[in-house]
């Protein structure tokens, strides 16, 4: 019975992933990515990793994607000017993608024994936390440290922006409205420096 779910959610995940990667509009691809995360969470559930499935939804779909959406909104319509790669690069990409997946599936698809039966409590919070807080306690603490470092980093980046802004750079607030002006100025500068290298 799980096979059906697997195939359904599997294909959903793949399609949404493909769409994420191919959409021109960042917002659309963000939504497709959220959809992909949800289908993967379903797969987690299928693997009876319930706690993880929930986390996936909460963290990935919830927190991280929201943050992405925020940034996308923040950057505004500057993205549509982003040129798509020329066809040769895309062709190369598609080609190598197909090659890679074909070879990989051949590699990975060897038959395995079916999943062994597992106690009901498998995948639950107690089981996971029990392993987490005994064997990997040290790693757990480190992750905490990592997260604090990330937060400090993000804050630092943001803070430096406000007081020290140089004349040419507009403060964050005005970013949205005047970025057209700044971007053209800086892009012209960019153009100048970016002497194409043969």
């Amino acid at each position: 019975m799980e096979a059906v779910f697997f195939y359904v959610f599997g294909t959903l995940a793949v399609i949404s992933a493909l769409l994420t990667v191919t959409r021109r509009d960042a917002v659309a691809s963000a939504f497709w990515l959220i959809f992909c995360f949800l289908s993967v969470a379903a797969l987690f559930a299928l693997l009876s990793a319930h706690f993880m499935a929930i986390l996936q939804i909460l963290l990935y779909a919830g927190a991280i994607m929201v943050f992405f959406l925020f940034v996308i909104m923040f950057l505004g319509k500057s993205q549509d000017r982003v040129k798509t790669s020329d066809w040769r690069v895309v062709a190369l990409g598609v080609l190598s993608l197909i090659g890679a997946t074909v070879v990989l599936t051949r590699l990975v698809g060897s038959t395995h024994a079916p999943f062994p039966a597992v106690a009901d409590s498998y995948g639950g919070i107690e089981a996971v936390s029990e392993v987490l807080l005994t064997k990997y306690l040290f790693a757990f603490e480190l992750t905490g440290l990592l997260l604090t470092a990330a937060v400090i980093g993000a804050v630092y980046l943001a803070r430096r922006e406000a007081p020290g802004s140089r004349g040419a750079k507009a403060p964050v607030v005005r970013g949205l409205t005047s970025q057209a002006a700044t971007s053209t100025a800086s892009s012209s500068a960019v153009q100048h420096e970016d002497v194409p290298h043969a």
Partner: protein
């Protein structure tokens, strides 16, 4: 249509699926010029890896995979945070987030 009931899903399927997802992520990173899309593709690759972790953990019947997925999640979050902050910074300075414009290193 093969008889669905007799068909059972085993580790191979999951690994293949995650491989496919992973490579979609890779292609996203490699072929899209928009930095945001690249970040998203990276997130996609991370979830693919999580899927593999859990599949194998399920096969082995223990929870180590889960713990790793947890850590991976933490890392992904941190990375997204800092990455996007940098991206904003670059956007402030360069006005564009087209990856090919960032050839500063090359000159």
């Amino acid at each position: 249509m093969p008889d669905l009931t007799t068909l059972h899903v085993h580790l191979g399927h999951y690994l293949t699926l995650s491989a496919i997802l992973f490579f979609i992520g890779v292609s996203g990173v490699v072929f899209r010029r928009n930095a945001i899309i690249m970040f998203m593709s990276i997130e996609l690759m991370l979830t693919a890896v999580n899927l593999t972790f859990l599949a194998v953990s399920r096969q082995l019947g223990d929870h180590q995979g889960h713990v790793f997925v947890l850590f991976a999640l933490a890392v992904a979050a941190a990375e997204a945070g800092v990455g996007l902050a940098i991206l904003v910074e670059i956007f402030k300075r360069r006005g564009s987030i087209d990856v090919d414009d960032f050839r500063k290193l090359m000159e």
